[in-house]
Amino acid sequence: MDLQANPDELFKALSDPTRRALFERLSREGELTVHRLTERSGVSQPAVSKHLGQLREAGLVRDRRAGRETHYSARPQALAPLLDWMKSYATFWNDRLDRLENLLDRMDQ
């Protein structure tokens, strides 16, 4: 079975709805400061910073210090393992359905 990709860390980072919301917003609006991200998030600034740290660990966002503010931006290319993993199922099922057809040819009615 060819499901080598291990996107566990990525899934963990994205398993939290607040982190997904932060990532989505950065994907949509481009670079934003922690301050701006906190405004409409419904959670405290320290909590937002912690979530951003976890997203950064997973490679989903990058940060840039400018004066007293930290600016964050999305790195959508970090989603590639997730997509690869899903696509690997296409190969898997095509292979298994070939085997199913082969089995059906060998089975009695």
Binding site: M1, A5, E24, Q77, Y89
Partner: protein
């Protein structure tokens, strides 16, 4: 016929098989036959039954797929949940009679983390995120 159609949230593969539906159904639902084309298993064609598929483990994966039977409609439709690597999806086989055989449709959908249950009702669901994935990924190329 061979029509893979991969997207980020649903995988659909259709094949026309020159065999009667009842025979294809046996291959889909009898454990020993399933092992021949799919994987070792302890499947029972009973809704609610929990079972697992076991493949060869590799360094990244224990080879176990945890499943639960969701729907059994003899000769027509079989559906089970499919959980591995912390992601859960649903696999559904549908059989539609066609001239000279049957059309088999395999659909794997709803890729989402196992933990999603904990976020039922969450304002920002995983499904919505996955829905947005294609748009995000579209920007990559």
């Amino acid at each position: 016929m061979n029509t893979p159609e991969a997207s980020t949230r649903t995988l659909v593969i259709e094949r026309k098989l020159s065999h009667p539906a009842s025979k294809v159904w046996r291959a889909l639902t009898q454990g020993a036959l399933m092992e021949e084309w799919l994987m070792k298993n302890d499947f029972q064609p009973v809704a609610g039954h929990r079972f697992s598929f076991r493949a060869e483990p590799n360094p990244h994966w224990n080879g176990i797929i945890e499943c639960q039977v969701l729907a059994v409609e003899p000769n027509q439709r079989l559906s089970y949940s499919w959980g591995s690597l912390g992601l859960e999806s649903t696999v559904t086989f549908t059989l539609t009679p066609v001239e000279g055989g049957v059309l088999l449709r395999m659909e794997q959908s709803g890729f989402r983390p196992d933990q999603e249950q904990a976020y039922q009702g969450a304002k920002y669901g995983w499904k919505r995120f996955i829905d947005g994935l294609e748009r995000v990924v579209g920007k990559l190329t």
